[in-house]
Amino acid sequence: MKIAFASGKGGTGKTTVAVNIANILQQTGADVQLLDCDVEEPNAHLFLLPRIAWSVPATVRRPDVAEEHCTGCGVCAEFCEYNAITVFKNTVIVFPELCHGCGVCAQFCPERIITESDRAIGVIEGGAAGGIGFVQGRLNVGEVLAPPLIRQVKEKAPKAAVTLIDCPPGTSCPVIEAVRDMDLVVLVSEPTPFGFYDLTLMAATLKTLAIPSGVVVNRCDIGNDELYRFCDREGLPILAEIPHDRRIAECYSRGALITESLPAYRELFANLWQQTLTLLPSRPDR
């Protein structure tokens, strides 16, 4: 099964919940892996301390133009959806950082003088943290194409009985790429106006994608009840409530796992997992 942890708003506790669920599952001997798909700022490794055993470059295609044969017709620039290639007189300028690697320029160049090569945008690395399989993507600083890297992280990850995905924040393309083939999404939010607003966006996104979801309310004793009323109205189950506890913040700041350092919270995460399982759509192969 594949379960993603998303939020909309950043800093609500996606990583905290994901790594602690991974830890609980590991303690039961489950075949579990965690994929850190927050490729602009992967941080699950700070808590899991994995031993990295492999690393491969993540690439996207970019066009190379044999400019000396260019007639300046401009077909490539006209067809490029991303304004990544421009032509004037007989000069062609490519902006690789804007290119999505679709190849339409090479396909439609009447002179057939555009070829494609690979451009590294980051790395994918993997290994294990104790009994937890671990894979993460790291986007190079200055690069903006998170979705292809996230896709490659998911492709390179080995098979496991339980795959947990730590998503990037927001509700745009990177998140869509991270959640698209999930069985279920756990939405980690907080009952603040900002947390609530972004949760509504993420809930609408998942509705469109037809992926079931439930909500973990982090720092449940701050803010107001808007988020609870929304979940009630939308039929979104509350999977767990995590209190605003100073000890959790201290634990986080040390890079420690709550389920190791604060045994009193083990049951909360175990229950969270049990509640999550009840939301899984039943499939004949399970």
């Binding site: 421009t86 004037f88 804007l98």
Partner: protein
């Protein structure tokens, strides 16, 4: 020689637009005769990314050799520079209209842009 000026509306006495790639209009002025024609920048203004690149290509297409604008980003700068367009920076505290900008340029009062004046905006 043709001079491209970024403006909020089409016209010789219209206000300058300090943006380049997402400027509302380009007013293309003939430096000698002061005849002008305007091109709306609608498509680029709405593009998700690469507005400056397309705007720069459009300016070069219209055979402008000089650009007067408030800011030029790194990608637009690269295209304009490759296309041989010389860029000059307008200052809204001193020039308000297309006419003001052209006059100031003729008097040599505008600072030449020799590197991008802003960070890129893409994503």
């Amino acid at each position: 020689m043709k001079i491209a000026v970024t403006a909020q509306n089409p016209g010789w006495t219209e206000s300058l637009d300090t943006r380049f790639g997402r400027a509302a209009w380009f007013v293309i002025v003939d430096a000698e005769t002061k005849r002008w024609e305007a091109a709306e920048n609608l498509q680029n203004r709405q593009s998700a990314q690469g507005a400056g690149i397309q705007a720069a290509a459009a300016i070069i297409d219209r055979q402008a050799e000089v650009l007067l604008s408030g800011n030029v980003g790194p990608k637009a700068f690269r295209v304009l520079h490759s296309g041989g367009v010389r860029m000059y920076r307008t200052d809204v505290s001193k020039q308000q209209t297309v006419a003001d900008a052209v006059t100031a340029w003729e008097r040599g009062e505008l600072e030449e842009i020799t590197a991008a004046t802003t960070e890129g905006h893409s994503i």
